[in-house]
């Protein structure tokens, strides 16, 4: 009996395939196997002998099962290792399928600035591209024959309308619609009748901003501009205001930032001046408030105009403005 067990154990250990091992298991440990047969005869034995036999069978069964299991998991390990090895993949091949497209760089920067101003409690407003003379000029204190109209070469449309030359008319529409207090920005497409070259476009993007409240000061304006520009350029910026003339603000400023390329020492980007002209701004002219039905004795505010197109060109180091309206995917695919 012990010989049989030993030889079965030897066969288990000697099995070279999972099938071979399985046939030994069926023959020895199966329902009709040798161990099962031995158990079947137990009832015929005397009690003392039966106990001894039972003990023997249990011991043998445990030894055999343990050997079988060890062997079996060995085979499984080998099989798994083989499978894993066979499933080798070269993950350096290019991923198939379609790559996502991309948003226009103007859209990307516009959203970034919108989000910043939304976080500061500003509304993001939209306005028409075809404007009335009233909204584009008169309500902004630029009456007909004002020399300031020369600064903005205008596309005129049949029917007496025009293509907005700046996003400032949205100030007027915003004041008319929402009234004071008001915090708003208005990004959008604007048009100037200018010949196109590497740095001039007749179609470009601006972002107008305005805040109307009870006691808005030049100090508040500087604060917002520093905050805005710091967030745009992801670092602290030094700004300076100098006088600038725009009929819809009084006083009016040109805002310069300390050149980010040379830090103010002078370089070609800042034309050796250490400063880069960035945006016009000022305190809203009371005439503009009045034209939009707001009492300047009670309310005042600031306004600014940011050249989105210019900012995009600065951010991505785009040297030629014409790429932006080119529709060329070799360019647009980079953003």
């Amino acid at each position: 009996m012990q010989d049989f067990v030993d030889s079965a154990l030897a066969r288990i250990h000697a099995a070279t395939t999972a099938d071979e091992l399985e046939s030994v298991r069926v023959e020895v440990l199966g329902r009709k196997g040798v161990i099962a047969d031995l158990s079947k005869d137990m009832g015929k034995l005397a009690p003392a002998e039966r106990a001894e036999r039972g003990k023997f069978i249990n011991t043998a069964k445990q030894a055999l099962e343990s050997a079988w299991e060890g062997r079996k998991s060995g085979f499984e390990r080998v099989a798994l290792a083989a499978r894993l090895d066979a499933e080798w993949l070269d993950l350096t091949v290019p991923a198939p399928g379609r790559k996502p497209g991309s948003l226009h760089p103007i859209t990307q920067i516009q959203w970034e600035i919108e989000d910043l101003f939304r976080s500061l409690g500003f509304a993001v407003l939209d306005g028409p591209e075809v404007e009335t003379e009233h909204h584009n000029f008169d309500a902004l204190n630029i009456p007909a024959d004002h020399p300031a109209r020369d600064m903005q070469d205008t596309f005129w449309l049949e029917g007496g309308h025009l293509l907005r030359t700046h996003t400032s008319p949205v100030q007027v529409r915003g004041m008319e619609k929402l009234g004071p207090p008001l915090r708003m920005i208005a990004p959008g497409r604007v048009f100037r009748n200018e010949s196109v070259d590497a740095s001039h476009e007749h179609t470009f993007y601006q972002l107008e901003g305005m805040m109307i409240d009870r006691n808005v000061s030049v100090g508040n304006l500087i604060y917002f501009m520093k905050t805005l520009l710091g967030a745009i350029f992801h670092r602290e910026v030094t700004v300076r205001l100098r006088p600038g003339f725009f009929p819809f603000v009084e006083p009016g400023f040109e805002l310069d930032i300390r050149c980010l390329i040379c830090g103010g020492d002078g370089c070609p980007v800042c034309k050796q001046s250490g400063w880069v002209e960035l945006l016009p701004c000022g305190l809203v002219n009371p005439k503009v408030l009045r034209a939009s039905g707001i009492d300047p004795a009670e309310w005042n505010g600031f306004a600014f105009g940011l050249g989105l197109t210019r900012l995009v060109m600065m951010r991505y180091a785009i040297g030629d403005i014409r790429w932006l309206q080119s529709g060329d995917l070799r360019f647009l695919g980079q953003f």
């Binding site: 991309s102 859209t107 300076r240 006088p243």
Partner: protein, 758 residues
């Protein structure tokens, strides 16, 4: 506008900052400077010199000249100028000695070109007795746009006033009004409308000698970009550049009658101007006229026939003031911008006319020795309005600027700019700032702010009520659309809003339906787009040169003409897939993209548009509203490959979708497939809707599975398979219920003459 540093410094004793620092100071405090250039480089060290003797040099065109200078003593120079002769008053420049033809030439005699004051290098300069030499100068260029509101800054004296205020120096007044004669000129002035011609002042001079101006005057005009002409014309330009007051001189002998009229032009009048151009005039143009007709276009240009010439001996010197907008209208109508019109359109101070005349009296004595005034001052015009003083509240001023201010400081600033300030801060505006520039307390905020320096103001967050901001639903909607479509592999492009007539015709769009640009920038940009298609089509054609397949999209506005109203702007999305295969996948892919953008759309057959492939186009509906089109572009528009496009009217699509939870069914549903035999060009979508209609009660959903053509089906037929899901919210359906659904569908189709595949 160009400013001569030397000229400015003539009005300020002890001006310390250099031209370069002045440029920075002016930029920060007053107006934007565009750069500084030196002028007359050769003038460094130049002195006048008398040519004592001239000896020929054998075998050379040059001569050996001995010259005497005060500063450098006697020098020998070799000179090649044809006009080098004994007794000449020339200009000597001490350059390093060099040997020319064996003779040591110690310095040179200079031409105007050598000095850098003009391009004239025909000969060396000939000075008259005691003529002073100009000095090396620097020219500061100011951006005209930054002084459109400052009529006073269109002259050197005005800029000098700013510089004096900034540097706390005294300003010298160049005009001596006491030189002006009593009123009552030899010419009469008749102004028809004093709202158009505010003031007209004139002096008459006789014994005039018209000749070349002295070097210093020519150099000065040249330095700021004006062309020297003769002493009289140069005088008027000099005073204009100094006092911002344009002037004009007429030849008295060439005027008809003794009266000068300032009046609107008569219908049909014309004038030949100083530039030899003929201008047809209309009553909207103000002219200066004599008895026979216009002699100048008021504020713009003089007439040729009464111009100063070499033979002129008597002149009428005009100094007038015109309504700014009238001059601007005339100048732009005639497309003639002059140095005079640029100044007048900024609204010049009418007080200035006689100041300019006083200055002229003084200068003419030097420029035309022996000149004599004839009679008194002719001066006519309306009373000059006195500007209302401004009450300045210093607390208000401090609040506006956001800083604290001492009242003596504010007073000193305003007074340095020649505002008068009373004890209670009633501020009187100087006349040269009162025409258009300063009128309100806000204007004084600027004066004080720029002078204290904006960099002295502390940035400060405002104290305002905290409230959520208004957010138009379009903003987030458009973002979602753009993000979604970009995630589907489309790249955003941006095209112009302008198209050409040819574009419109190419796509079969009626040219007359487009809003026309009255002043297009170029041919081919004369219409406002009524569709994004022309731009997208151009993108397709251009990018097809570089890529075999691509996807792109644009969102932008279509501009639609309205009768008697502002054009309507409609925001559209157009997306395109370009490929070189049979194009089927692209169309279905675009449809899928549209479903991602606008869940719930359906596609219906439609009449093809001219740009569409007639067998591959459809309308896109949301419910019963047509919201767009899906098509392949007509092969004639795309030379290689195919382009599928989708066009969605974003303004017709709901900004947000109200989602609402429908309870998940507790009882199992049963699905069965059903195949119908239909003609090959019957639309699956139509069949599907019919299946849904017939299925009726207990139908949860109907879904298209597949279609098949080929044996055993007869030619011209296809089998279309749908999967129907049947169920009920309150129980499990019986076999009989499900069979009933199936029978209803089959019977419905049998009644229409269809067969089932079973």
């Amino acid at each position: 506008m160009k400013f001569s540093y030397n000229w400015i410094s003539e009005f300020i004793d002890g001006l310390e900052p250099s031209a370069e620092s002045l440029e920075r100071i002016i930029t920060i405090k007053t107006a934007e400077c565009e750069g500084v250039d030196s002028f007359g480089r050769g003038l460094a060290g130049a002195v006048s010199a008398e040519v004592e003797s001239v000896e020929p040099i054998e075998g050379s065109k040059n001569v050996k000249a001995t010259v005497l200078t005060n500063l450098y003593g006697r020098k020998t120079v070799v000179c090649g100028a044809p006009n080098c002769r004994t007794g000449l008053h020339a200009v000597y420049v001490p350059v390093a000695p060099k040997t020319v033809g064996g003779i040591v030439s110690d310095g040179m005699l200079a031409s105007e070109s050598d000095l850098g004051v003009s391009n004239d290098h025909a000969g060396i300069i000939e000075l008259t007795d005691n003529e002073r030499l100009p000095a090396l100068d620097h020219v500061i260029e100011i951006d005209n746009k930054s002084i459109t509101h400052r009529p006073d800054l269109w002259g050197h004296h005005g800029m000098a006033r700013e510089v004096a205020a900034i540097t706390a120096k005294l300003l010298r007044e160049p005009a001596n009004l006491s030189l002006l004669p009593e009123a009552g000129g030899p010419v009469k002035i008749e102004i028809e409308d004093t709202s158009l011609c505010l003031r007209y002042s004139a002096l008459v001079f006789e014994n005039v000698t018209v000749r070349r101006s002295p070097l210093w005057l020519r150099a000065r005009l040249t330095s700021i970009g004006l062309n020297p002409i003769n002493n009289i014309v140069d005088l008027t330009n000099y005073i204009m550049a100094e006092l911002a007051q344009p002037m004009h001189a007429f030849d008295r002998e060439k005027l008809h009658g003794d009266t000068i009229f300032a009046r609107p032009a008569r219908e049909g009048e014309s004038i030949i101007a100083l530039n030899d151009e003929t201008y047809e005039l209309s009553p909207s143009n103000v002219v200066i006229a004599d008895a026979s007709g216009p002699i100048a276009i008021a504020g713009v240009i003089g007439g040729r026939d009464s111009a100063i010439s070499a033979t002129t001996t008597t002149i009428v010197l005009e100094s007038a003031s015109f309504q700014a907008s009238s001059v601007r209208k005339t100048s732009s109508a005639l497309k003639l911008r002059t140095d005079a019109s640029m100044r007048f359109e900024k609204a010049q101070d009418p007080h200035n006319t006689v100041r300019a005349l006083a200055r002229a009296i003084e200068l003419l004595e030097e420029l035309s020795p022996g000149i004599r005034l004839v009679g008194g001052l002719a001066d006519s015009g309306r009373e000059i309005p006195v500007p209302a003083p401004i009450q300045l509240d210093l607390d208000w001023l401090a609040r506006k600027l956001g800083c604290t201010l001492e009242s003596p400081r504010v007073r000193a600033i305003l007074e340095s700019l020649e505002f008068k300030v009373s004890d209670d801060f009633t501020v009187t505006i100087p006349s040269w700032r009162a025409t258009k520039d300063v009128a309100t307390p806000e204007d004084l905020v600027e004066e004080v702010g720029r002078m204290i320096g904006y960099d002295s103001i502390e940035p400060k967050a405002p104290e305002v009520a905290c409230a959520p901001s208004y957010d138009p639903p379009e903003r987030e909607f458009l973002r979602r659309v753009k993000r979604t479509i970009a995630a589907q592999g489309f790249t955003e492009v941006s095209n112009y809003s302008f198209i050409s007539e040819e574009d419109a015709r190419r796509f079969g769009l009626a040219v007359e339906d487009h809003v026309r640009v009255l002043n297009p920038i170029a041919a081919g940009q004369e219409l406002m787009r009524t569709s994004l298609l022309p731009g997208i089509h151009r993108n397709i054609v251009e990018n097809a040169k570089h890529f075999d397949s691509f996807r792109l999209f644009e969102t932008g506005r279509e501009i639609h003409k309205q009768k008697n109203a502002k054009p309507e702007e409609v925001t559209h999305l157009m997306a395109a897939i370009y490929s070189k295969d049979d194009g089927r996948a692209a169309l279905l892919e675009l449809k899928r993209t549209a479903e991602c953008l606008v869940p719930g759309i359906s596609v219906r057959p439609t009449e093809p548009r001219p740009w569409e492939h007639p067998a591959r186009c459809a309308a896109i509906y949301l419910g019963d509203v047509e919201v767009g089109r899906l098509s392949e572009l007509h092969p004639s528009l795309v030379e290689s490959g195919r382009a599928a496009v989708i066009d969605l009217d974003l303004d017709r699509i709901p900004r947000s979708i109200d989602a609402r939870y429908i309870p998940i069914r507790k009882f199992p549903s049963s699905a069965f497939d059903l195949s119908l035999i239909a003609g090959v060009r019957e639309l699956a979508g139509v069949l599907e809707n019919q299946v849904r209609d017939f299925a009726g009660e207990h139908t949860e959903s109907v879904e298209y599975v597949r279609e098949y053509q080929g044996p055993p089906l007869p030619a011209g037929k296809k089998s279309v398979t749908f999967r129907i899901l049947a169920g009920a919210p309150d129980r499990t359906l019986t076999t009989a219920d499900i069979t009933a659904v199936r029978e209803r569908i089959l019977n419905g189709f049998l009644a229409l003459g269809y067969e089932s595949r079973e």
